[in-house]
């Protein structure tokens, strides 16, 4: 990927195996989020191909990639602030169950049949008592939890989580880690995360990026001992 001559991500041959939790780590500016944007088609690569389930998705539109079951979360919490918590989850269910909703002549009461399922998901992330308040009023950690519930409502085959723990307190981190582990059953997860203890405990495989290139790949034990990785992190001012 090139931005006006600057190669943000170059020659990253990333392979994520079905059914695993794969972590993408690296110092700031390494190209992690760019990778995400490329995979979910929010950016179009200058060169190279992206395959998902053996299918070339390099030229697809972002909404269509999502429809294939490859769903992302965002670094800054992505909720619909003026919809209630329940409606946030329901909007995802609406897409999965009804496909497109161009029926402007029908009353929204037809969406009530999705309420039970939406509330079950809201409960799964511990937000039941907030289900009827607008998402804008949730605390940061709860917004992240809502975002995960919304993403799960699509029953994605593959989840891309962009720093799911960013800005979370200790309790929230543990709760979210448990949630990610729980939803990883039968799913493939690729996540960007700075919290290394989370990465260590959750992921099956780790790819370290630095300056837009793969520095090392393997499980936590292998990667954490790699001298180049240690150098990249200390060199960039990280512990």
């Amino acid at each position: 990927m090139e931005f006006k001559g600057f190669r943000a991500v170059n020659g990253v041959a990333l392979q994520v195996k079905r059914g695993t939790i794969h972590a993408l780590i690296g110092p700031n500016g390494a190209g992690k989020t760019t990778c995400f944007n490329l995979l979910t088609k929010f950016l179009t690569p200058t060169a190279g191909t992206i395959r998902y389930n053996g299918r070339d998705i390099t030229r697809m539109k972002p909404a269509d990639v999502a429809r294939l079951g490859l769903v992302r979360s965002f670094q800054i919490s992505a909720v619909f602030p003026h919809l209630t918590v329940k409606e946030n989850v329901r909007i995802a269910l609406q897409r999965r169950k009804r496909g497109d909703s161009f029926d402007f002549w029908r009353s929204e009461t037809v969406l009530r049949q999705l309420n039970d399922e939406a509330l079950a998901l809201v409960e799964a992330v511990g937000l039941t008592s907030f289900s009827d308040i607008p998402a804008v009023e949730l605390s940061y950690g709860r917004k992240r939890a809502l975002e995960i519930a919304t993403t799960l409502a699509l029953e994605p085959e593959m989840l891309l989580l962009d720093e799911p723990m960013a800005g979370m307190g200790h309790e929230d981190v543990d709760r979210t880690a448990a949630l990610i582990r729980r939803v990883s059953q039968n799913r493939t997860i690729l996540m960007v995360e700075h919290n290394l203890s989370v990465v260590a405990s959750l992921s099956d495989r780790i790819t370290v990026l630095a300056r837009g290139q793969v520095l090392a790949e393997g499980d936590y034990a292998t990667v954490s001992k790699d001298p180049r990785v240690i150098e990249a992190y200390i060199g960039a001012g990280h512990g």
Partner: protein, 330 residues
Amino acid sequence: MAHSAAAADAAPIATTGLPESRDARALHRRVFIGIAVMLVVLPFVLYPVFLMKVLCFALFALAFNLLLGYGGLLSFGHAAYFGMASYLCAYAAKTWGVTPEIAVVIGTVTAALLGLVFGALAIRRQGIYFSMITLALAQMVFFFSLQAKFTGGEDGIQAVPRGHLFGVISLADDRVLYVLVAVIFFAGLALIYRIIHSPFGQVLKAIRDNEPRAISLGYRANQYKLAVFVLSATLAGLAGSTKAIVFQLASLTDVHWSMSGEVVLMTLVGGMGTVFGPILGAFVIIAMENYLAQFGAWVTIIQGVVFVVCVLLFREGIVGLFARLLKKPL
């Protein structure tokens, strides 16, 4: 309903926001009844022609607000749909001699087609660029209207016959015409209310709130934006066509950029993103124009002051302010 039990234990914070609820629906039903009663009573108090003008512009503002308040798209060129519909309706009624309801349909369809073409171009850009494209296209429509033969140039299309509704009922009497205009207005309002509160409306609000997220959930945001753009243009066209029949006139004023500005003003004064705000906004602005006419050019200045005061004191508009005080969406 499944969520009523959950709503009960959500009590601690549940009252601070404006979520759609059963409560709100009951309130909206009362507002609808109130509007219906007003539509019946007001012609005995105020001049029917003045009321019809208010209703046409209220429908125009409602259509505009559908796009701005619920689609999050600020169009600076809505006069194009209002005005072109007005021209085509007037032309059809006068030159082709069709009955008024057919003329209104012709005008409305024109606005829909124009909205489809202009919308498809404009939604490719966001924010101020979107607004600028809509303005530029509307300016092209203005110059077209100035140059084209059928619009009558500076004169416009005058002495448009009101004709006979369905070829039977004469609309020459203002009171008879008022009934028709009131019915069109009320049907338009009901349709817009339904659009906002439909599965489509839910997706629209989601896109307005956070477009990238809506896309990441698999919604093709541009198709929804185009759909609401066409709906808004169509309803603006319905308002413009009706206006042409009421005043028996279609002129350059209807396609002028200041008309686009006026509808923004009405919507903001009444309350952007509230269902009923644009009606009140249109009433306030039209009433000022009518009753302050003796001040001549000062009307514009007075309107400007009202607008500034409105934005400074209650940014959410008059109805938006009420909604906040009632803690319910209006």
